[in-house]
Amino acid sequence: MAEIIVVTSGKGGVGKTTSSASLACGLARRGKKVVVIDFDVGLRNLDLIMGCERRVVYDFVNVTQGEASLKQALIKDKRFDNLFVLAASQTRDKDALTKEGVEKVLKDLADDGFDYIICDSPAGIEKGAFLAMYFADQAVVVVNPEVSSVRDSDRILGLLDSKTRHAEDGESIKAHLLLTRYNPQRVDGGEMLSVKDVEEVLGLKTIGVIPESGEVLNASNKGEPVILDMESNAGQAYDDAVARLMGEERPMRFTQLEKKGFFSKIFGG
C-alpha cells in the first residue's frame, strides 16, 4: 500500500519544496520506493531543488491529460534508483489539474509499487493546494516560528479536517508539525516562538525541527536536497524527521542553545 503524504503550509516561502525534496530523498535512502510530485501548476520548482530541471520532458498535467504515459513523465533521480520526480506543468491554466486526473495518477503509482507518494503542495488554499491534500493519508505541515505562518497553518489544518477524502469518509488524517528556520538563540532570547509554543497553539506533534542554516541555501543552489549533506545540522535534522515519519523514536536535536565552552569562546570554535 502506498502512503500518500502531503507537504503543505498555507503560507508561501516557509520551505515546503525544500522539505518535500529532503523527505523524499531520506525515504529513498532508507530503501523505500518514492515519488515526489510538484502540485504547483504554473510555478514549477521542485525540479530545481531536486537538481533534475534539465531532464523534464513531460509533466504531471501531460500525464493526467493523456499526452504522455506515467513512465515517460517520471524522472529518475541520479542518486537513488528508487526515487522519482513528477514535475509540475508550466501552463498558466489553473484548471489543468482535475480531481479525477490526480486520482488516476495516484492509483497508477500505487499499482506500480511505490511505497511513498510525496505531494508538494503550492502555497495558498486554492485548487492546487486542495488537490495536493485531497487524497493524502498523512500531512506534514511546514511552519516557520512566526505569527503569519502559524495562523495560516491552522487554516490548513481546518481544511485537512474537512476537505480530504479521509475526512469525507469520517476518518481523520494524521498531521505532523515540521518547524523550519528555527533559531534556538532567538528562542532563548524570547524573540522567537519555541517548538512548545507552536505545538500548543496548533495542537500538533512535532516530527522535526530544522534549524535555520546557510546549508539549506547552499543545497538549493546546487540542486542537492540538504538531507544529503549529513555534515550539516539541517541535513541531520531532516534525517531525524524521516526516521520519525517511519515510526522511529528520536530525541529532538538542534533545538537547544549550544553553550559555548571557555576555549571555543576564546578561539571562536
Partner: protein
C-alpha cells in the same frame, strides 16, 4: 554599552498570546456555512444604522440542537442602553 542590563521584552510570548486568541476565534467559525462572516458583516452594518456597536458585538453561529441546525445570532449593545426588541 550597558544594553545587557536592560530587560529584553519577550515578544515571543506576545506572539503566542495573540495567536491563541485569533486561532480560537477562527476555529469557532470553522465548519459553519461560508456565508456566516458575510452575514455577520451585513448585520453589523444594519445595526450600526441605529446603534453604535463594536465589530465583535455581533456573533453569528450555527449550533446543533438535536436534529436541527439553529442559526444563533446575538448582539451585545453598549452599556447604558436598553435593548428594545
Amino acid at each position: 554599552m550597558f544594553d545587557f542590563l536592560k530587560a529584553k521584552k519577550n515578544t515571543a510570548s506576545i506572539a503566542k498570546d495573540r495567536l491563541r486568541i485569533i486561532i480560537a476565534q477562527e476555529r469557532t467559525n470553522r465548519g459553519g456555512p461560508d456565508y456566516l462572516p458575510l452575514l455577520q458583516r451585513e448585520l453589523l452594518e444594519v445595526i450600526r444604522k441605529y446603534v453604535s456597536i463594536d465589530a465583535d458585538a455581533v456573533k453569528v453561529d450555527v449550533v446543533k440542537d438535536g436534529e436541527h441546525d439553529v442559526l444563533d445570532i446575538s448582539v451585545a449593545l453598549p452599556e447604558g442602553r436598553t435593548a428594545t426588541a
